[in-house]
Every structure is written in C-alpha cells, then in structure tokens.
Symmetry: C2
Subunit: 228 residues, 2 copies
Amino acid sequence: MLDQYKQQHPYLLALDSIIFGFDGESLKVLLVKRGVEEQTWSLMGGWLQPNEGLEQAAARILFELTGLTDVYLEQLYAFGEPHRDPIVRTISVAYFSLVKVADYESKISETFQARWFSIYDLPILLFDHGDMVDLAIKRLRYKAAQHPIGFELLPDKFTIPQLKKLYDAIYNTNFDKRNFSRKILSTNLLIKLDEKQKGFSRRGAYYYQVDLAKYKQETDSFLNFIPT
Amino acid sequence: MLDQYKQQHPYLLALDSIIFGFDGESLKVLLVKRGVEEQTWSLMGGWLQPNEGLEQAAARILFELTGLTDVYLEQLYAFGEPHRDPIVRTISVAYFSLVKVADYESKISETFQARWFSIYDLPILLFDHGDMVDLAIKRLRYKAAQHPIGFELLPDKFTIPQLKKLYDAIYNTNFDKRNFSRKILSTNLLIKLDEKQKGFSRRGAYYYQVDLAKYKQETDSFLNFIPT
DNA sequence: GATTATTAGTGTAAAAATGACACTCATTTT
DNA sequence: AAAATGAGTGTCATTTTTACACTAATAATC
C-alpha cells in the first residue's frame, strides 16, 4: 500500500435503512429494537463487508430483516458527524426503501423485535436515526411528487381510491378525488384491468396496474403533487 | 471497544467535490491533476480527518483548492463499489459545490494544476469521477429547476440577461427571454437595483439581487425550468 | 324485492400558468 | 444624425389547475 494511503485513518462503515410501508391507512416505518447496553428502537442496520458495494450491503441487510428482494432502495444520505455513534466513530450511509407490507414476512422479523410505526407517532430513536427518518420522509414526499415511486408501496393490483389514500397519507392531506384521478390517469402510466375489488365497497373499484416501462427515468417527470 | 465493533473492517473515507462555476457563457467544472503513478484529471478530493464531519471535511478541502469559504455545498452521493479505487478500498462521499468564479483565487490553484472545463468537453477522469460529474450535472439540473440555487454561480449583483445565460447553459437550451423574465420575476425573490450594468451593452441592463431570506427551503418550491 | 347505505366514478366552469411571438427603448458608435 | 446593439415589455391562444356535486353500482337490510 502506498504511503499516501497508509497515513490515513480508516473508519467503520454502517448502513441503515428507513423502510416505509403502507397498510392502507397510514404510512409506516419499520423499526427494530437494538442497542449496546439498553435496547432502543432504531433503524435496521448493519456493517459493510469487504466484498460488497454500498447498495448491495443495504439490500442484504434489508433482506435479513424482511426476507424481501427486489424492493425499491435508494441512497438517502451519508451521516458522519464525529460522535454520532458515541462508542466508535462510524460513518453511516442511510438508504430508504419502499416495501409492499403484504409481502413482508413477519416471522423473520420476530428475531429482531421489529414493529411498524406510523410516521406521525415515532418513538425516540438510537443515535441520529431520528434525523435519518425525518430526512427520508422529506425525500419521499419530494420524490413521490414527481416520480412514480408510490406504487412500490401498493400491491401490484390496486384501485384509484387506494392510491389516493396512499398519497393522502404521504402528504398528510386530503386530495380531491376528481382532480386526483384526472391527474394520475393523465400520466398514462396506469393500465385499467377488467377486474373489480371485492369486499371493500359495495360497488367495487376497478383494479389498475402501473406500467413503469413507459416511464423513462432520464427524461420524464411524473407529477407535481406537493400540496399548497 | 466492544466486540461487535471490533470484528468489523474499517475503510478509508474520502471526499470528492464537483465544483461548478459559470464564466458568463458556459457551465464549468474545476478539475485538478492528480494520480498515483500517472497524472490524471480528477475531482478535488481529500481524506476525512478524525475530528471532522463529512461536510466540514468537504468544505476544508474546497477551501484548500479555492481559498473560498461560505460557498454552496451539498452532499451528492456516497460511492463505494469495492474496486472503485484499485489500490485501497475507499468510500468516497461526493459533494457538489457552486462557486462564483470571480471570487476564485487562481493563484492557490496553481499548486494543484487546476483548470476549469466546460461540462460539454470533459477529459477522461480518475476512478469513477466521471460518474460523479454526470450525477452532479443531473442533480444540478433537477435542483435548479425548482430551487433558487443558480444564483450561487453569479455575482451578488447580476442582470436578467446574465441569469438567462446561466439557465441556458445549465439546461443547454435557449429560453425565450420574455417568458424567462416573467417566470423569474414572478417568484418575487429578485430585488431590482437602481444601477445599470455598464460596458456590456449600449443600453445597459438593470442589476438585481436575490432575496434568499424570502425563500423558505422547507415549504416553498421555486420554479420548474426543466425544458420540454 | 324494495329500500337504504356506501363507496366509485365522472364533468364543468373559472382562474392561473404557460408558450409562442415582435416590436419599441436606451445608449453608444460611426 | 443615423445606425447598430442588446434591454425590456404585452398579448393572445392553449393548457393546466382548482373548486365543486351529482349519479352509478352493489350489498345489506327490511
């Protein structure tokens, strides 16, 4: 190893994930109990292994908790204040993830004492994990207003009223359903199915699927949903 | 130190900055010559010191190259592919910075063999620095379309035609000057001064200043300038 | 089997924002 | 005095957004 490298201090590198879920009513974050001496609610996290990339490590750690693969995962921010972890200096790269709660295997999570918390009713969190969650909510709101990522929180087949409830939950507001469906449908990203939702309402709402192939991340924007 | 920490591998942590500047005509990036064996153009970078936060370190490194403090600095992304630096595994947290080229002290940069490059005419860069620049340009375009950050690239006093040239350069387009000034002025963030620019045009354009205090990061958006 | 309750689904009109487009103004140079 | 140059502004047509209320379909109830 060359001198200019040798002289440098190395640091521990952790990954922490803000895992969002939607239960049909409110937006939730999945937290686990952990801690060195006392147990505190915290984000799911783990250490970077020598052979892994950052996102790969975040995906592995997410899998360990949820049993899920192929979930939406986006780098949020690197947190590195000197004393954020009071025991050993650790840089944490936070990721946020959007999962379909129906797919989530709760058996696996028992090992971690995991629990879903409403974003409006969070406990005190370990270290700077509270800041991470705040930033993740901000990012989710910002991004979901312009890109079709909300669908990652819904089943593959969903109804317009379900989608509206999701956006209502994300932005803590109540969109007008006429304007909402016009705006959503005008993106031409939704495919109406021939099937109606049963059991929830008397009339039953049509199911839709999203056609993400139509959406080109590079060029297209999606919507502007940030309410005034 | 506790066992669960001890067992973990530490990594080197670097910071690299994409430094944007605007010379009145085109958008530039400041690059330096560096490399272990051969000299390659690269981003300005450095190592995280034990007593520093990430942004603090990025600001220090930026100061070492440019002599500038209080510049716009925003975390871009953490890059951590296992072999991105082929010599020693290094995680790099990239920041992007917007500087006023007039303030930039070129004497200091001679030490680093620094040079401004047009974003449309970049050399081959060290490691994954090319990816970093690509991402930074994307982020700048995305953000400048909705937040008043372009002003960081202009002198404190600027004219509307100067601002239009900046946006033209950022988006590689040619906005209509009537629509542009209407849109910009409708934000109510610009303060018209009583003074005209001399020497550039016969008539002279009025100078403006931006009132960033009026702009509340939290709630307000700014503009949507992404051209169709 | 008629009525009622419940959620789904749709249309319109007014206001605001956007995009396309061309002339006059102020000043310096010739 | 005329010409040249970039600065500055207004209008109209189109699109997008917002506010707002009724009918439709079905299941449950009487």
